[in-house]
Symmetry: C2
């Protein structure tokens, strides 16, 4: 029974804090810190854990305590919406793990984080109110709006006190399906163009299935930041080709792209089938998958692949 | 200590025999039959085993006995050069396995196959003579030329009798590095064009590093059949882009491509970096690799991924 957990922290600049967060999640049997990356522009870091439920839960709760001690949201400025030091904490089922396992993990993590004095809002499959399913709704207005008044009534958290923590803010804890975070940078400073592309590629607007998108300026260029929630229907290459085509129609071009965190092998296979013209390509044809299963220590032996 | 073994059999049409070969290599602890495919045009099937040395050796020797009993080379016609029922048997080190482990496996497999009454020629890293390093030299003239006279003197095999087996021929057993078998089909029937492209893409002719190539007609179209022996330097996408460019310059185009057997994750990552414009993409970002290591049964549990 494997789950993935992807804690997002509002710290993307202080490498000492980022390494302290990483260290708190390492070295547990049954849970691997598989990747992490920090973005100074977004002032944000994203970690990915994979493992069985109990060690994964223990790891992220240790990390939540580090964030509480070391991240001060009142001094945080960044391009990305956020409500807390540990901003978002989603649990994702892998392979044939039932979604209910991740809902249970979200509830237990939420209760423990609430006990640290941090209000917790449950979202997506763990949401207790329809208006909180969507993470964007939970985070709307960010830390500043949550801090502007008491968290009572409609604003009451699922766990924790009825007011934001003065430095750690609040945390959104959820259970959800896959999400591939894929950013596409355009060779353009035209934020209106970026916003138009983001608006039209969104699945909710009749664009590509399962795509969430927003446009921001990063280093003077437009970045279309994509969340692919149905990578089986819209893998990265499909979203990229849409953006290449639509940007070209507006006289712009894609400069480069970046993957934040992890993706599934099937997304790479889909890209290879498309670009290499392969009629057939099966996951079983990837040697490393078999080598990982036959000699797990070659993968789990160290965290060397997780480069911050 | 993991090795890969890629037995090639001169049977690509009789599915009962192909399934019998597959069955003989399945169900061993420590060795997985990870892929196999049969090509009726080439009248050839290629199997890939991954595992620790002893169970892999046991599996391929069982398969060698099936081929001896069930494949009659005197009735074999196909587009591909071949000398035996079990035509080629290479052992390949994986991860940090030393090459010497595979040389030892080749010697032991060669001796056992020789004891079945089949002459064995050792090639590449297991070769005992300089003129036998190159598999193409070992197979030149095929079964028919080996059968034309006694295998003595310069023609003497490394193991087995001094004459081809009447139905099973001879076998080339070797130890070598990685090899990705990647076929590119052109929308052209011009075999001269194909031969020119194959000649120029070859690494030995100053083309792309580690590329071996030959051109044949398959179903009336030109197929450039590539062996990529340095996929770290020339991954499939690099060879394909070369062929796309050079074919276009001659008024032809690539129609489709196919991967025979396996490839390494790094080759998919290289293609994704190139085509998705990703500045960085690490193997640790592929979730399935971690899931395979944390829950090996999800990969090894069945041979379902190996579809003939």
């Amino acid at each position: 029974m494997l789950v993935q957990c992807v804690p997002n922290f509002s710290e993307g600049r202080d490498s000492a804090v980022i390494e302290e967060l990483a260290a708190s999640m390492r070295g547990r049997r049954g849970a691997a810190l598989v990747d992490y990356s920090a973005d100074p522009e977004h002032h944000r870091s994203v970690f990915t854990l994979v493992g069985t439920p109990e060690p994964v839960l223990a790891a992220v709760l240790d990390a939540a305590r580090v964030a509480l001690a070391r991240v001060d949201l009142t001094r945080h400025q960044g391009a990305h919406p956020r409500i807390g030091a540990l901003d978002v904490l989603p649990f994702v089922p892998l392979a044939d793990c039932p979604s209910a396992v991740c809902v249970d993990l979200a509830l237990r993590a939420g209760r423990a984080i609430g006990d640290l004095g941090i209000p917790v809002f449950l979202y997506e499959d763990a949401a207790t109110r329809p208006g909180r399913r969507n993470l964007a709704d939970v985070r709307r207005g960010g830390f500043e709006q949550l801090a502007a008044g008491p968290l009572t009534g409609e604003r009451a958290p699922d766990f924790g006190p009825p007011a934001v923590h003065p430095t750690a803010g609040a945390t959104a804890v959820g259970a959800r399906g896959p999400l591939t975070a894929f950013n596409v940078l355009l060779d353009s400073a035209d934020l209106d163009l970026g916003r138009d592309l983001a608006r039209r590629i969104r699945g909710a607007a009749g664009g590509l299935p399962g795509v969430k998108a927003l446009a921001i300026l990063v280093g003077g260029r437009v970045q279309v930041s994509l969340n692919l929630t149905r990578p089986d229907l819209t893998p990265p290459h499909a979203a990229l080709e849409w953006l290449r085509r639509e940007a070209a129609a507006r006289g712009a071009a894609v400069a480069e792209s970046e993957l934040i965190g992890t993706l599934r092998l099937e997304e790479l296979l889909a890209a290879a089938r498309e670009y290499l013209g392969l009629g057939e390509l099966r996951r079983g044809q990837v040697l490393d998958l078999w080598a990982a299963a036959l000699a797990p220590a070659t993968v789990l032996g160290s965290d060397e692949d997780a480069e911050g």
